[in-house]
Symmetry: C2
Subunit: 343 residues, 2 copies
Amino acid sequence: MPQTSDANRRIVLAERPRGMPDDNTLRLETSAVPEPGPGQMLVRTVYLSLDPYMRGRMNDAKSYAEPVKIGEEMTGQVVGEVITSNVDGFAPGDMVLNGSGWQDYALSDGEGVMNLGPDPENPSWSLGLLGMPGYTAWAGLLLIGEPKEGETVVVAAASGPVGATVGQIAKIKGCRVVGVARGPEKCAHVVENLGFDACIDHRAEDFKEQLAAACPDGIDVYFENVGGKVLYGVLPLLNAFARVPVCGVAGWYNLDGLPDGPDYGPMIMSTVLKMKVKLQGFIIFDSFPASTYKDFRRDMKDWLDQGLIEYREQVVEGLENAPAALNDVLEGRSFGKVVVRVG
Amino acid sequence: MPQTSDANRRIVLAERPRGMPDDNTLRLETSAVPEPGPGQMLVRTVYLSLDPYMRGRMNDAKSYAEPVKIGEEMTGQVVGEVITSNVDGFAPGDMVLNGSGWQDYALSDGEGVMNLGPDPENPSWSLGLLGMPGYTAWAGLLLIGEPKEGETVVVAAASGPVGATVGQIAKIKGCRVVGVARGPEKCAHVVENLGFDACIDHRAEDFKEQLAAACPDGIDVYFENVGGKVLYGVLPLLNAFARVPVCGVAGWYNLDGLPDGPDYGPMIMSTVLKMKVKLQGFIIFDSFPASTYKDFRRDMKDWLDQGLIEYREQVVEGLENAPAALNDVLEGRSFGKVVVRVG
């Protein structure tokens, strides 16, 4: 069922998953296309972003954002087209960046919506390199990680939109950069196309030994976005005064309570103490002054103009395929930034 | 066997303990009193400091300081008296603060030795409130914890020399302060004499519930010096942008490898992420600019002059009793700052 102009397809949260989302987690519903009232505009979704944080929103738990309610459409950023507008500054045909979620149409009063103009270059990039994931990489690495020339930076999920950007910025800053990714194809891409110094397959049996060999001078910055065995392999290699920006724990989003032991809590805390580590969590639109967003856009444009940044996007066709594609993202089967072409 | 002028008793590391030190861990030896050469002085130990970090030095593991070698005397800070001196600035009769370890006599070239003068008030306090533990409390709380008026600060080992000082400084800064200590006697002392708002016995079966009830507005700063169940009780209560200075993990110093599960690693990392927590380890003489030491001494003298700080010391008689007293410190049976009167 493709996007049409006379129905609004919405993917709603049907029940809260335990572990990985399955066929009962999300449900496709159809309703009427809403009518914009005074001070409102109607936006048609063109691209929907898929990101690991979405798994966390399915939980009914204290977190940095409200959970999605049962029966409510999944949250998500989209790039859409303005169809009709009663909002100053937005005209039919304008492309916009909007947080309107997993659906074909949404009303907006323009609050928090970024106008990309009628004909932006690579509009979907505003969901990735030039948007939240790119800003996350830039701010987490530079403002918390503070990498210095010659230091070693390790990045997990290195072929993903955040990790790929972190590593390329760290190279620009003169660091040795070691990625961790899933499988030989991604690892080859990370080294050959993204320019990392090395990339380790986290599924290798001797993952820890390979990581240690790739970091002969230890690790000064670990950009954390997965948790799990990658973290536990990194801990013994951290140097004194290492910095660990914590941007996500994708490998643990599906956890239902505390997993079986051994307990790595003492190892985490002892390492933080002995190596005087700074471990700092951040949520991109919460943790930094708004002014830094402009600094990010300026840096990223400069680097793109100079050809210093590669960007890889995977386009999934059709809103109905978003649930399966999100599971691919969560389990590391996707490759690069995943967006869904909705219409 | 008391201190005499014709033999040097030394307590050396006989073997590396697994778990808690026992009768085989340390050994008392006797050797000749050394003779100072040119540029050296002889210092006689008067007070020896006992501190939880000493357990860590018994391990043969990568840490922030070299492990004690087998057959070498245990490290430790002492307040001693200069007996003979060929060092400018030090005269017989001067009291000094020196890192000469668990022994009656030591030679020194004056490097790293602080002269307290011939008749200091409360000389042993330089091992506690006015020395390393006090500076640890001051710097960890103020420079990493950054408490703001009205915030809630939780301090473990609240009757110990570091914890007691952290809590009293936090009160001076206008915070709500909740201590955690072992047993009702210590908890009463923490509230009645030190002025904390509440103190929870960590051995209570409903420890977590009591802690939550004592922190109705959540926790903004957790001064970490024990690890273990106190940490795991604190994590769910941390507020957004909480700060956790990590000064020690005393409850885990005796660990031999990873303990049984469940694995709290995911809970630590998810909390750091969701609540945007800064968790930062520090080692007092490594982590801060030397200039901050003067700021600490100035603040502490002001507060003592104003009667704002209480200090409790427990004096153990005799070097031969130091090993058992250290175990008391490690297991939380001591009360206040423990020093050994050696001579």
